[in-house]
């Protein structure tokens, strides 16, 4: 499941970007991908659907990199 979550996040991120960008765990979601605060929340919503979890907004605010996002999702999924 841990690997699945990582794959799901990469896949969702790629499909929600207007043009293809290389994404790694170090990619900074706001600075490197140019998403605004609402776009980040919308994109997290896609992942919430895929994983059937709810991510509180304060958790989203703490997330800076794709790696942070993967870790947060794995924690939430483990706790659900």
């Amino acid at each position: 499941m841990v690997g699945d979550i990582r794959e799901i996040i990469f896949e969702t991120l790629r499909s929600s970007l207007p043009k293809p960008v290389e994404i790694t765990e170090k990619t900074h979601i706001v600075e490197d991908l140019g998403l605004d605060s609402v776009a980040v929340m919308d994109f997290v919503m896609e992942i919430e659907d895929r994983l059937d979890i709810s991510v509180p907004l304060d958790k989203i605010a703490e997330i800076e990199t794709v790696g942070d996002l993967i870790a947060a999702m794995q924690n939430l999924k483990a706790g659900s």
Binding site: D36, M45, D52, I53, S54, P56
Partner: protein
Amino acid sequence: MSLFTKFASLAAQYRQLEEAGANPFNVSFDSVLSPTEAVLKGQKVLLLGTNNYLGLTYDPAVIAKAVKATELYGTGTTGSRIANGSYAGHKELEQALAAYFNRKHGMVFSTGYQANLGMLSALAGKDDHLILDADSHASIYDGARLGYAQVTRFRHNSPEDLDNRLRRLKDVPGDKVIVVEGIYSMLGDTAPLKEFAAVKRSYPDTYLVVDEAHSMGVLGENGRGLAEAAGVEADVDFVVGTFSKSLGGVGGFCVSDAEGFDILRVVTRPYMFTASLPPGVIAATLEALHQLQTRPVLRRQLTENANRLYNGLAALGFTVGPEPSPVVSTVMPSPEAAFAFWARLLHGGLYTNVSLPPATPKGLALLRSSVSAAHTPAQIDHAIEMFAEAGREMGLIPAAGAKSQDEPVLAIAK
């Protein structure tokens, strides 16, 4: 100025607008003539972006009450109601609002923004959950941030997604507070409130807050908003609203039947730690509320004007919101197009608004209009004509006489 370096890219965009001499975020009217006309840089403009839904800002009776109260009680209260006392008008207005909405309790705030800050931060505590519609107004997001509850958002206007969120929280302790709006201020769409109410009823310890800021005085047989129009007032636990739209003043409120409601007065910080509304505003609002209740013709005129503008712009080939409402937005292909279109309209004497992401949903750049009951049909037709000219000139809509497309270029899902 290292403090402001974080705003560098925004500042550059802002400067560009200033240099172009057309900055929609820095408009200053020389004078305002009526609910529908003002003077801007020496030019008379038609106002089509003021949220002045019932056009009551120049109503003689409303003005007379404001003047009389100001003469009797002074210009300001110079303090908060908790620390420095309420005036008779504050209580009277709270009772009038509660009576109008058929609720036991009412509470008045100094702005609509503060009403949301105050209510959301107080209602949901540390172990509770706030569940917001994703397209909620900034005041709802800020109210959620001011409190200590866990906050999640559900897909805009999706009862299914709300249900998913509540299901995931089913075994989690704490109360759940759902927040939705009557009319959304960016695209003018309404919430599927009947369906939301049904979802809410199916979960225990779940409450519903409806912000009727843009729907009070607009929807419902008696103008009480979307909850009245949808026939689900009994399912709505708290109604939040504003005095600065249909009521033509400034301020906010909450009405409810919740037992023990008055304790909020000593726990709601945006109520406690700010000056209360001045007597003139309170008196004007009371009179405007009276007019709202006794002049249903205003609501009919507003609806007619809203439909006229919405249908007119849609017929020209503009992409408009999902349904007619006093907020009529047209989708622009880019922020730059929105700025250019806005400036073009203003140059011709028509004042509208520009709304951009992240304030707008789905990254849309919007040219936003709002109509008033005070607009004449001729004013609305003139506005439509100006949209037509500007739209054709900029290639946003088909040329005059051309067959309009079956499908708009940019579609908005409801």
